[in-house]
Amino acid sequence: MIPKRAKRRDEVRGATRRLWITATLAILLAPAAMAQVRPQDLASGPGNNWLTYLGDYAAHRFSPLTQINTTNVSRLAPVWVRHNDGDADRAESVPLVYDGVMYATKSNGIYALDAVTGREIWHYDAVSVRTKHRNRGAAILGDRVYFETSDCHLVALQRMNGAVIWDHAFAPAGKGYFCTPAPLVVKNEILVGVASSGYRCYVAALSADTGKENWRFWTIPGKGEFGRDTWGTFPDDWGEVPTWMTGSYDPELNLVYWTTGNPWPDLNGEERPGINLYSDCVVALDPETGKLKWYFQFTQHDTHDWDANETAVLLDADFQGKPRKLLVQANRNGYYYVLDRTNGKFLLAKPFIKDLNWSKGIDANGKPIVIPGMEPSPAGVKVCPSLKGATNWWAPSIDPKIGLLYVVSLERCEIFYSSKQNHRPPNVGYYGTNHVAERTDPGEFYLRAINATTGDIRWEYPLPGPVYMWAGTMATAGGLVFTADADDDLVALDAKTGKDLWHFYMGSTLYSNPMTFRVNGKQYISMTAGTNLFTFALFGQ
């Protein structure tokens, strides 16, 4: 008689063997089983990996990694640099990292690198693209990576070998649409934004599997729709309002937050009387249908090119003693805004620049109290902030524990002129005036640490140099905030105090946002400068 236990073991062994055979067969027969990036991986935010342009859905750009911290960041040293021939004039791309492989874009191309050595695994150059705009990054889901071409095709690639799966146009480049943003993955959809030279823009959701368009949200209402009357008799398909910055997403509320650009013609509002919905807004969209849940407009009837495409940061925090779901944004118009992201209700606004002369403040409904006579005029009018804005798409970041939002801010004024310019249709480059703007002063960048719930500025750090840079920030649990100065340094500051702890001269202007990742227990920091991609780690480890 076989002892009970032994028998059981044999049975188990037999079952295991059958399972093993089945499994082996499955491996042999099934297509390569490889790690799949799931939507919940994107939602869990950065760690070893960095899986979205803004780091996580809430756009915190905050990494929990602590290996590089306030005590040792002085030992940060470059480990590799890659010169990207054939990119546009400046690399705005933020790389993604998954499982030790880095995916970075350039204009009309993407490459996969061994993230530790910088060595190329594969690259893909989009075919038959005639335009060459900058590109801000890729998206990742499943076994694929996605990026937008200059001529507004979404390209899906197998991410291990760079094989192209499909390449689908989602906007007609022939009408002057062009595309630069990193796409946003929401569930099984890829959300894309567009820019144009006058024609109205939209956010579109394409199937991650097939590239088929599921919905489109137009940033300017069509004929007969709510808000159409905010444009006077302006032609239906004109007005632009681009969507060129990656949105944020709240999986719990199931709302996508997308920020929109300024109305066209940029500096001449005469032809488009009204508040020009949904220009300079944040719109909350249902990701299943693209339906508008609510909107909030920062600047009405904009004539200063103050796009509101700046990142919308989602934050759960106590606001005036009550826990609230907030959406905060430092806007190009000079005000820092706090909204309730469940319904778009305005809660607070405060200037985050010293020179702000176009408005007396923000009223109880969140509308700027505009000082008359600040529109561009033939004689010229001095307006602060400048056309480049009090901030721009330079990514902010937030350390939720410290409660500070780090914003690259620009103090600068400009003379805005208008002069009679014969009207030109979209797609030929038309601002509505001959003169655009003239600087009154060179201007200076500051990194400002803004108390996220009060709008008060806790500390600031000057980022001097000629104001050509377009760089953002990243915060880490190592107590650090990384950003750039206009003298081409990458800098690391103490996130609590703004104390300068480390800097590295990158040799050319910085046009992107830093990011961080970890491979085999070692933490790295990456950032582009010019058209080069640098990666750093602690020296001697």
Partner: protein
């Protein structure tokens, strides 16, 4: 004394009274770099004259010859292209065709027949260039041919090239147009040829009998060891695809950059894993310090330092070299018909507009 001799035919330039003189030479170099003889062009006389003396000085010969060869090719190409653009209103690259028979399959077929009767003796049966002494250049890859306008090619056929081995063929205009259409088809991308064949059967061979999809992908379907073929018809000429399929490991397929070229990221390796398995893979990249291997199952192995000894380079690419035996002639034709139609974007042309005047920010 017996001298080792290197023979070379190339375009050579001569700095002569402030201008470059250009011509095609057949050169024979001795081991020490001295020119033993130069022949077959109108410049032969000059070379045998006083300047030949300069070139004979061993110290300078190699350097001068190399410089001249490089500069000569460039200068020749530029001058010819510029002249023709002026004369013909500009053929940018090889795009604008003025030949009324361009792309016409019947004309291409007629041109091919004429070519075999008239031109193949010097330029090879398929325009690949002649072998041995006195033979004509490769008409598929030659950049001057590809860059030339249809009119210029017609003129070369009709009038010949004086002082070279290229004679005049004063054929009727239609026959010359047929020849030019055929010449164009040689350098055209495969997709533009509308190659006859059963495309569906070709697809079945790709994913079935031919086992191509074990290593190659098309639109994300297939394996990892070989190059993606989704755009192969739009990116390659038919002869390149043909040679890559049937002349694996030959110069032709290497030049096509499809495989075999270690720089292209497809050098074959066997990877010995720590648990004793052997995996087929390709080295996507390798240096003294790191190697990035993609295995047949699509897993990446990022090797550093000593780990790199686990990857053993293989003498041959993973591409089989027996398709001539495995597939029938019809199957090869069908497979080529299928492959030549692969294109990421529709072949009708890009949807792009001119560069935009505005910046978004």
């Amino acid at each position: 004394m017996e001298r080792a001799v290197l023979r070379q035919t190339n375009t050579l330039c001569l700095w002569d009274a402030g201008s470059f003189r250009i011509g095609d030479f057949r050169l024979e170099f001795a081991e020490d770099g001295a020119i033993i003889s130069a022949s077959r062009t109108k410049f032969t006389e000059r070379l045998r004259g006083e300047r030949m003396g300069i070139l004979r000085r061993p110290k300078f010969t190699a350097a001068i010859a190399a410089l001249c060869l490089a500069a000569g090719v460039t200068v020749a190409a530029q001058q010819r292209a510029r002249g023709e653009r002026r004369a013909n209103g500009g053929r940018a690259g090889a795009s604008a065709a003025s030949n009324p028979l361009d792309g016409n399959p019947a004309a291409i077929a007629a041109g091919q027949t004429r070519f075999r009767e008239t031109c193949a003796i010097c330029h090879g049966a398929n325009g690949e260039g002649g072998q041995g002494e006195g033979q004509g250049p490769n008409l598929i890859t030659n950049s001057d041919v590809r860059r030339a306008s249809d009119e210029a090619l017609s003129k070369v056929v009709h009038d010949g090239i004086p002082a070279t081995a290229m004679p005049a063929f004063p054929l009727p205009q239609t026959q010359i147009q047929q020849l030019v259409a055929y010449l164009r088809s040689l350098s055209a991308t495969a997709i533009s040829l509308h190659l006859p064949g059963d495309v569906a059967a070709g697809r079945a061979i790709f994913f079935g009998k031919g086992q191509c999809s074990q290593c190659h992908m098309i639109r994300g379907e297939g394996g990892f060891l070989g190059p993606d073929l989704t755009n192969i018809g739009a990116a390659r000429r038919l002869d390149q695809i043909h040679d890559a399929l049937l002349k694996t490991g030959s110069d032709a397929s290497n030049k096509a950059d499809l495989y075999g070229d270690p720089m292209a990221g497809y050098r074959a390796v066997i990877l010995h894993t720590p648990d004793g398995k052997e995996l087929r893979g390709v080295a996507k990249n390798y240096t003294n310090y790191s190697m990035q291997v993609l295995d047949a199952a699509g897993h990446l192995h990022l090797l550093r330092g000593e780990e790199m000894s686990r990857a053993a380079f293989q003498p041959k690419s993973w591409m089989p070299d027996d398709y001539q035996k495995v597939l029938t002639e019809k199957e090869i034709q069908d497979l080529l018909a299928f492959l030549s139609r692969q294109s990421v974007r529709p072949p009708e042309g890009p949807t792009s507009a001119a560069p935009q005047p505005e910046e978004e920010d």
